[in-house]
Amino acid sequence: MEINSIGDFVAAVFDAIVLALGLNPEATRYMNTDVESIAVLVTVAFIAGVSLLLGQSVVLFLNRVTRTRFLLSIALNGALYVVNLLIWSTVIWLIGRLAFDVQQPIGIAMMAVLLGSAPFVFGFFILVPYLGLIFTRVLYAWSLLVTIVMVESAFQIGWLRTIVCVGLGWLVLLLIDRTVGRPIVMVRDRVLLKLTGVAPYAQASQLGRTH
């Protein structure tokens, strides 16, 4: 992929998002491990992460963060979201390799999963009162669908096997998060708490009585 200017880069990010949103297999042209493709897809996932937290930013308000910490939290969530997707893609790739003899390099799996985050660029719509709750589910379903299509395009192992890889990958990630990954999660939460004043994934039910 050839990117010569910022304009080219923005156009490539936009193009990748549009192709992914439309479940278009042509998006596979961004599934390369060259620096440009990586930069484009990491940017897509970062925007998605930022937009998603903006949509779910009620948690930040409920915890009464300052404006500065609000912005910091949003930006950090973008970065954390990218890291989370990379871990998920590693697990998917491992399952594909061990269970279905996938020959593609891990980098391709990573790019496929990063593309799957594209629907969350609309994450800020989650803010819309009441309807945002429905929109959240639509976005998650859409993102899962894009991820499955992109992983299938990358692995070429058939839909059922792809669904097994992606689904199992998600379950394993959940398991890691709650078992061996706990110390890492704790460190992450502590760093976030220090920087932003908010523990990640704090719940709206934390809202106390104030009068």
């Binding site: 009620v58 409920l62 963060v65 404006r67 803010l127 309807l131 009068h211």
Partner: protein, 319 residues
């Protein structure tokens, strides 16, 4: 550009404006809660009334009126609304009617007050061209409607209702209410004020320590769990009013087969009483406040509605 392109661009702009209004709608309440507002007293600040009204003796019953979505501030009402409230007042001379709560801002800031789009709302309100004004007023109604949805949203509802409850208490105090007294507090709402009232009910109950009743005049009632905290909800239903059913159609908790929803539990507990007020519409000529429209028995619509409200208030006082 061809005329068709202009129309298309205009439609696009209108849709975009509605979408932007919807996206930014929770920020007023959330920003207030987080302490981002410059001058607004925060959610933990003591409630202080700004002024004291001409109420000499504390009353036994306070009726707080929460209007529909076509309102710019708490201080401005249509002549029809004021006439209706005067009728109710004449029937209930010992009751204080609080008319000036603006139910579509958690901070009590009117649309023509200190806010970013104040000039836009004021410009629309002052337009001389009647048809253009009526058309653009849809934006004001939509803006207020988004606040009704903020109230109904489980993520934002508690924050929003806390702000509105504080505003209600502030106005009650200004009208002579003594917090801690045994005076009745009843919310009387119309249209979009219905959901706001139900949402605010539990917060008001905590703040006042007194049971809260609601008189809904064709109110749009969603599946807000706040309904369970109310003493009773009296819903005045016009036979020609379909807008009152919006909550019933679009909020799953109102559907009868979801037996454990807050609404259906409230129905089983006998908290909801529907009163048929005859062939009245939601708005326009022939609505609940109409002074020229008459019911088949010759009663003026506004007189019938005011009479039913007065009867309900007396029923609340006797229980």
């Amino acid at each position: 550009m061809s005329p068709f392109s202009w129309v298309l661009a205009l439609v696009g702009l209108v849709i975009l404006a509605f979408v932007v209004l919807a996206i930014i709608s929770p920020f007023e309440s959330l920003g207030w809660w987080a302490g981002w507002g410059r001058d607004d007293p925060g959610p933990t600040a003591a409630i202080q009334a700004n002024d004291t009204r001409s109420v000499n003796e504390p009353a036994q019953h306070y009726l707080v009126y929460l209007s529909g979505v076509g309102r710019l501030s708490g201080d401005e009402r249509t002549t029809k609304e004021d006439d209706f409230l005067n009728r109710v007042q004449a029937l209930l001379p010992a009751t204080v009617i609080v008319r000036d709560v603006f139910p579509f801002s958690a901070t009590g800031t009117p649309l023509n007050g200190r806010r970013l789009l104040a000039r836009v709302w004021m410009w629309i309100d002052r337009l001389q061209h009647k048809r253009l004004r009526a058309w653009l007023y849809n934006f004001i109604q939509f803006r207020n409607l988004t606040q009704v949805l903020v109230s109904a949203d489980p993520r934002y509802g508690r924050v929003y209702s806390t702000g509105i409850a504080r505003e209600i208490v502030r106005h009650l105090i200004a009208h002579g209410y003594d917090v801690g007294s045994k005076a009745h507090v009843t919310l009387m709402c119309i249209s979009g004020g219905g959901q706001v009232s139900v949402g605010v009910g539990p917060v008001l109950l905590e703040m006042l320590g007194r049971p809260v009743n609601i008189i809904s005049i064709g109110g749009v009632l969603t599946d807000d769990p706040g309904i369970l905290a109310l003493e009773r909800l009296y819903h005045l239903s016009g036979e020609l009013d379909n807008i009152q059913y919006i909550g019933k159609w679009f909020f799953p908790g109102r559907w009868s087969w979801l037996r454990n929803s807050a609404w259906n539990r409230a129905v089983r507990k006998g908290k909801i009483k529907v009163i048929d007020v005859g062939p009245m519409k939601h708005m326009g000529w022939g609505d609940y406040f109409s002074r020229s429209a008459k019911l088949p028995d010759g009663t003026i619509n506004a007189a019938r509605t005011a009479g039913v409200v007065a009867d309900v208030v007396k029923e609340i006082e006797q229980t």
